[in-house]
């Protein structure tokens, strides 16, 4: 048997909860995240659901998992491999055993390892009884039977009773990580406040699990993870899609502009539409359009009417919106277009992550149609980038494409809730003088944005649209020189935004042999890999991560010029590296690409870096 990798005090631990779709693993994981946050740990989580809405019970295809990495240090990924694996049935074990580190711990509901369930998971023998799990430490917990016993006098239906066994599992894990139960009990009381019997059932199951762990010899010791040094403040766990929705709400409130969202359902972006549909309390005006085109066109109408306006989609939907993006570009209207990317082309792997819509965001329109392209890099910073997308769109009178992806959309990380005055002011470019002194396409000199005058503004009646506009007046003209001039002004307007962006930062030495470059959602894995290498004594590697892609931060070239070699890591076939090569052709670029619908593992990035350094 491998040595137990759990020790009395650990800096980082990865736990994976896994069970049948109906076993409540996502809720269990969410509650453990909550408990970890309260304990002061940093964390990152990722769910792994079956693609089917209701996969057959007990089948491997129906396994639903939730992975979390917690630590007493900053945590940027949900972890490559797992220290503790909770399995509620044989299928969950079969689907997840390969993620478990040798010497890792398995907590299994042994009551569910029946011959019927074993057969569904393709086990001939019960792996809890033979040598299959000899490399691991197995806790055979009678979760189902002890839960039934604990809940027997509550008068609940058997289905409700067995459903509560996830709280039993949580009780075991909470004991394992030396966590008090009070906060979790508070959570249960809040969550089921309308159903007192369910509160009681869940608390009893939780206690049963905790007591099982306390009283059994199976757990030799519990693990302590010291709190991480995180900035002071109030925190909550947030997923990327909610964070994007909330960033838009914050920008709406800060700017005093009502928020209009017009979207069409698409995986994995729909949750933004769902969240804002539930935010009528914040005044969000949400329109579920009949198709992607109607969605962006309605968003353009809302923008012309003077609202902060957004449309959310994923790659295939963004393709349908492309023509209308051209209208927003030439009309110079503020618009936030969120693309939560998934693996493509076409339907591709609709529930899997990829960064392959970068070319589309940069170039996927007819005509010369520049706009801002930016990308979020963690579930919690989706808030800030969504806020910034809205701010830049309105201040600069331009559409903005914000890229997220499946990984950020469904993953969670702790978010320090900003104080209202921490958010950057949003200055709406409204013309302040009399209407006679204003023209529809006159511009502010510094950033070349036009003014945002909308229906209801008396005396400012004007027409806009898809036809080329005469400079300043906006009247129609086919004047060839005017078209060239306007094309260049629209490009220059976007380029000048670089001046407003934060300087690009570098981790590690300011010059040297190798610069690792990432963008968007891969920040966690690359940052962890580089940080670990630096901690291990590597002095030749530095890291820079891009959130602003068009325009690039002003110091980009200066940074790239400071290293012998540049290694661009991305979850596509080399789109950002292609962009960098075309912008800065003088540097030497290498690339590391993964196109498997999966995020990077820290280990594979580390291996790449080590390979490049040893070349």
């Amino acid at each position: 048997m491998a040595e137990n990798i759990l020790t009395a005090e650990m800096k980082k631990v990865v736990v994976r909860f896994s069970g049948d779709s109906g076993d409540g693993m996502q809720l269990t994981g969410d509650m453990f995240s909550q408990s970890s946050g309260i304990a002061g740990n940093d964390l990152t989580t990722i769910p792994d659901f079956p693609a089917e809405i209701r996969a057959p019970q007990g089948s491997i295809g129906g396994v639903s998992s939730f992975q979390i990495q917690i630590g007493g240090t900053e945590i940027y990924t949900p972890g490559d491999t797992v220290d503790v694996l909770v399995v509620m049935n044989p299928a969950a074990l079969a689907a997840n055993l390969s993620f478990l580190k040798p010497g890792g711990t398995i907590i299994a509901d042994k009551d569910n390892f029946t011959s019927k369930n074993l057969k569904k998971a393709n086990f001939d023998e019960n792996p809890l009884d033979d040598e299959t799990l000899d490399d691991y430490h197995v806790i055979r917990a009678p979760a189902t039977s002890l839960t039934k016993e604990a809940l027997k006098d509550l008068g609940l239906e058997m289905q409700t009773i067995t459903r509560s066994k996830n709280m039993f599992a949580l009780g075991v894990v909470l004991y394992l990580f030396s966590r008090p139960l009070e906060k979790t009990i508070d959570f249960i009381e809040k969550k089921f406040s309308k159903k007192p019997t369910l509160v009681e059932a869940n608390i009893r199951a939780l206690n049963a699990g905790y007591n099982f762990a306390v009283s059994t010899e199976l757990i030799g010791k519990s693990v302590v993870i010291p709190p991480a040094k995180l900035p002071q403040g109030t925190y909550r766990n947030i997923d990327g899609n909610t964070a994007i929705a909330w960033g838009l709400l914050a920008a709406s409130e800060k700017s005093g502009k009502k928020l209009s969202l017009s979207s069409y359902p698409i995986t994995p972006a729909s949750e933004i539409l769902h969240e804002l549909s539930s935010r009528k309390d914040m005044g969000a005006i949400v329109f579920q359009a009949e198709d992607e085109i109607a969605a962006i066109c309605a968003a353009i109408g809302a923008s012309f009417s003077g609202n902060l306006s957004a449309t959310t989609t994923s790659g295939p939907g963004a393709s349908l919106k492309a023509e209308a993006m051209g209208l927003a570009v030439i009309a110079e209207l503020p618009l936030v277009i969120v693309n939560v990317q998934r693996a493509g082309p076409s339907t591709g792997l609709p529930t899997k992550t990829e960064q392959s819509d970068l070319f589309q965001a940069l170039f996927g329109r007819h005509g010369e149609a520049p706009l801002i392209v930016m990308a979020a890099s963690s579930p919690d910073d989706c808030f800030m980038y969504s806020y910034e997308a809205a701010r830049l769109a309105m201040e600069h009178m331009t559409p903005v494409i914000l890229l997220s992806d499946t990984y950020l959309a469904s993953g969670t990380s702790p978010w320090r809730i900003p104080e209202t005055d921490e958010l950057t002011e949003i200055k709406i470019p409204k013309f302040q003088g009399p209407a006679e002194e204003w023209e529809p396409y006159m511009r502010q000199s510094e950033y070349l944005n036009r003014y945002w005058m909308s229906p209801g503004d008396k005396g400012f009646e004007h027409r806009t649209g898809g036809l080329e506009k005469k400079e300043i007046t906006g009247n129609l003209t086919y004047d060839p020189l005017n078209h060239e001039k306007m094309t260049k002004i629209r490009e220059e307007k976007i380029d000048r935004i670089a001046k407003r962006l934060p300087a690009q930062e570098v981790k590690g030495p300011k010059s040297g042999r190798l610069l690792v470059v990432g963008w968007g959602s891969t920040h966690g894995a690359i940052n962890t890999a580089v940080t670990e290498l630096i901690e291990e004594g590597e002095t030749d590697v530095a890291f820079t991560h891009f959130n602003y892609i068009k325009p690039l931060p002003e110091n980009t070239e200066e940074i790239l010029a400071s290293y012998d070699q540049i290694l661009v890591c991305e979850l596509n076939n080399g789109q950002f590296v292609h962009y960098l090569r075309s912008k800065f052709p003088d540097f030497s670029y290498k690339q590391f690409n993964k196109i498997q619908g999966q995020p990077f593992f820290t280990s594979e990035i580390k291996a790449q870096i080590i390979n490049h350094l040893s070349d």
């Binding site: 403040g233 009528k280 005006i285 009417s305």
Partner: protein
């Protein structure tokens, strides 16, 4: 505010709605009449001028936006209704007019059209139906009648055309009217009824294209034929037509049938535009030559709460009930923790 509005209204004339842009339609085009009537009708609408919004798609019809001195968006092909829906939802105070054509609205924009009809957004959709693609120079449109020769059907169109009224009413439109482009009085009346109707108003204008389908509506709209070939409907009035005003419509079994009054007996039906059941409205929309006159005027006008009113009243009622009043309270609600 009210006083100011009234003052504005009194001051406005057609001229106030004329933009400084030169009008560039072919001489003799039916679009001129629509423009003139819109400019006139706008002066009678009880809205501040800055709340007028005209939205158009692509095609000859859609150029009208540039000629109206209001806020306007000349959008993209087929999408005017979507743009207008977003604008109206964003600001329900707007008086929104969509100008589109049979190609723009019934082909590339067909999806948006049917959904607007079912949603009942308070928009006025004017469809310039010349039964051809004019701006792209003469291709068949979804309303081109079978047999008509076009660039894409040189032997004559072999497609079954849409009847706009049938599509609109079938999709749940609460208001449908049809007018010829040479009856300014009726057009103005219909536009004002559309303005007062709360919900999606669909107005089909039989508009003549002097280049590609010149005279295509002639049998219906011609000076000598119009009395016999049009039946102008008025809510609550008998449905009668003909030079002698001696013909009408009655029901026979499941269908409408012509009736001729003899010896002063008038057994024709009265028009009821406000009947919820669309059966007869559909039948009226579909009447066509040579056996029947073509129905004009407001065929259907039924009450139903407009979409934007539903959306905004839902927002208002949630806001009223909810304890969370701003984003800071929202972000701090639920499960949070402190790091000291």
């Amino acid at each position: 505010m009210q006083a100011e509005k009234t003052k504005d209204k009194r001051a406005l004339t057609s001229k106030d709605f004329k933009s400084d842009q030169a009008v560039r339609w072919c001489p003799g085009c039916g679009d001129y009449m629509i423009l003139a009537i819109m400019q006139k009708a706008f002066t009678q609408m009880d809205n501040a001028k800055e709340n007028f919004l005209s939205v158009s798609g692509i095609g000859c019809s859609s150029r009208i936006t540039y000629y109206l001195e209001t806020y306007g968006i000349h959008s993209i092909h087929g999408r005017a209704i979507s743009v207008a829906t977003g604008a109206k939802l964003a600001n329900p105070d707007l008086n929104v007019w969509v100008f589109t054509g049979d190609g723009d609205c019934m082909a590339i924009g067909g999806n948006h059209f049917i959904h607007a009809c079912r949603r009942n957004v308070n928009l006025n959709i004017i469809i310039f139906n010349n039964k051809i693609y004019g701006m792209t120079k003469g291709q068949s449109s979804p309303t081109t009648p079978a047999g008509v020769k076009t660039k894409t059907a040189p032997e004559g169109s072999y497609e079954n055309p849409f009847n706009i009224g049938e599509v609109a009413i079938g999709a749940g439109a609460t208001f449908f009217a049809r007018v010829p482009d040479n009856n300014p009085k009726l057009m103005e009346d219909v536009m004002m009824q559309a303005y007062h109707h709360k919900g999606t108003s669909v107005i089909e204008v039989l508009q003549n294209c002097v280049i590609f389908t010149d005279g295509i509506h002639e049998k219906i709209t011609g000076r000598d034929t119009k009395d016999d070939n049009q039946i102008i409907l008025e809510h609550g009035k008998p449905m009668i037509f003909g030079k002698e005003e001696n013909r009408g419509l009655k029901i026979n079994g499941m269908r409408l049938e012509k009736t001729v009054f003899e010896n002063g007996t008038d057994d024709s039906l009265n028009h009821d535009a406000e009947e919820i059941d669309p059966l007869l409205h559909l039948a009226l929309s579909k009447l066509h030559l040579p056996d029947y006159p073509v129905a004009m005027g407001v065929i259907r006008k039924v009450k139903s709460t407009p979409f934007e009113e539903r959306v905004h009243s839902a927002i208002a009622s949630v806001k009223k009930q909810n304890k969370i009043k701003n984003t800071d309270q929202l972000f701090r609600s639920g499960n949070t923790w402190q790091i000291e």
